[in-house]
Symmetry: C2
Subunit: 301 residues, 2 copies
């Protein structure tokens, strides 16, 4: 599984490139260029409703081979940086995601176990899990941890990150979600012991009640490649990669350069990490089993 | 586009083969064997909710490359053979078709222009068109004409068939449907003039307000091959083929023979008619145009 990153980070990066806030068409073009290059190589594309999802369908650039996962959340968060509250995107819903023909919905959720607002965040997961279940949509939840107190300024967040990611899996995976899109449970800039990283990933695996996949955040590609291999060996069922695959594209001068980069470097990177996931990962259906369809199923569906 | 035929005819044919009414698993096996062989070669499979649609997904045998169209109607009809009334399948709906992740819904509709029950049949099309629109599902309507009075016994139905098929397109295509799955507007056993057949197909084309595709009914494959070529040259946007591709499979002695036949003869037949449709047909998007997605589309969707 591979996909575009969520809209927020791309918007900020394009702003840097363009020297102005990206307009609607800049965002759409970036995502369509990526669909053209990558959707035939991916099991699914994750696109946002504002700039990518409908546009990729209407333009005919989403490969018939590719699934479509559409995000549900508003970019960013409300509240204090140490007590982040995620919101649903206005005028959007799991019902619309289903209606447009997508296969799954995704929630990016800021989450720090134990903080006061954690309960509010879990309620949002439960609410959207019920919405997705009513639509029979695959519900992918992407919890993103954050530092509190002096953890950021002291660099201490790296030390607590494994526990944050693992406890997050324990808190969120039982709430009716289908796939956990997890952060790598270590900071490769600090943690150098591969055995410990594998151990953290195995604890993550043991604490997730659903298949989990690894997200790329903004790490460089070679780090992500290591993360995918370690996570896959610990039980991950793939990856959902964004900036680690294509972040250099946001600093390219012309659209032609960017398109060339997508079709060469990014396709090759995707091939490399897909091979790792195929070689070492755990198929999601081995974890959840196949549904049993019995005669008369349609009446009760 | 290629797909299984609707359940009714298959059930009757399997009954002949098996010497007993086919049980649930016979029907499922037949359809799954076909999905395994053909879904990767087709733009979509048409499957019924009872025996094929959910089973093909749950078994993992529906290719990720293939769309899925699911039927809405009860097999057969109510009322007199000369005044046929189609019914929706009980406990089934466009909403369930959308919820299960299908791309389109299909209605097989017995229809004879001008008979008393024609208005009732058109009401059903309008009702289901509205249901599919609410779900943003592609709605495929397959009108099947029938003889009245002494047309069957005298063989006169062949003479009126072109007008029946063409008038049917005129009556049904404006009712909010997306694709007309049309009968070939001539009987190849009687009509031998290819110029006239092309002319009938062009009149059908001119009377359809939506893209149309050609159905195979139970004609032999070589006849269907001619029909696909002529219809494509007259403006058809493909075919939705059933028994013409695989009817011999229903008289084979073992499942192994049948599977072998699907993977060899049927795949080859599909290749042949796909090449004809590709060479001569009109892409559906040339007829309807691409939707325009403007900034803020998600709020009004």
């Amino acid at each position: 599984m591979c996909a575009l990153d969520h809209r927020g980070s791309l918007q900020k990066m394009l702003e840097g490139v363009l020297g102005r806030a990206p307009v609607y068409q800049d965002m759409v073009d970036f995502k369509l260029d990526m669909c053209r290059a990558l959707s035939s190589q991916s099991s699914a594309m994750l696109l946002d409703p504002l700039f990518g999802a409908a546009q990729s369908i209407a333009s005919g650039l989403l490969s018939s081979h590719s699934g479509l996962v559409v995000s549900l959340e508003e970019t960013g968060y409300e509240g204090d940086a140490a007590a982040r509250i995620s919101r649903e995107l206005a005028n959007w819903s799991a019902a619309k995601v289903r209606r447009m023909g997508a296969d799954g919905a995704k929630l990016l959720l800021y989450y720090r176990p134990g903080v006061d607002v954690a309960a509010v965040q879990l309620d949002l997961v439960r609410k959207l899990a019920a919405d997705c279940d009513a639509q029979d949509l695959v519900f992918v939840v992407e919890p993103v941890g954050y530092a509190i107190g002096d953890e950021a300024s002291t660099g201490r967040y790296s030390t607590v990150k494994p526990d944050v990611v693992i406890q997050t899996a324990k808190d969120i995976s039982p709430l009716g979600i289908d796939v956990l899109k997890a952060e790598f449970p270590a900071d490769l800039k600090v943690e150098k012991d591969e055995g410990r990283m594998l151990e953290f990933c195995k604890r993550l695996d043991g604490n997730s009640e659903v298949p989990w996949i690894i997200l790329s955040a903004g790490v460089d590609f070679s780090s992500f490649q290591r993360e995918v291999e370690i996570a896959s060996k610990a039980g991950a069922s793939g990856f959902l990669a964004g900036r680690a695959l294509w972040q250099e594209a946001t600093s390219m001068k012309t659209r032609e350069q960017r398109v060339e980069f997508f079709h060469t470097t990014v396709v090759e990177r995707l091939r490399v990490i897909s091979a790792l996931a195929d070689a070492y990962g755990t198929p999601w259906f081995e974890r959840v089993g196949a549904p049993s369809i019995v005669e008369g199923w349609e009446a009760g569906y």
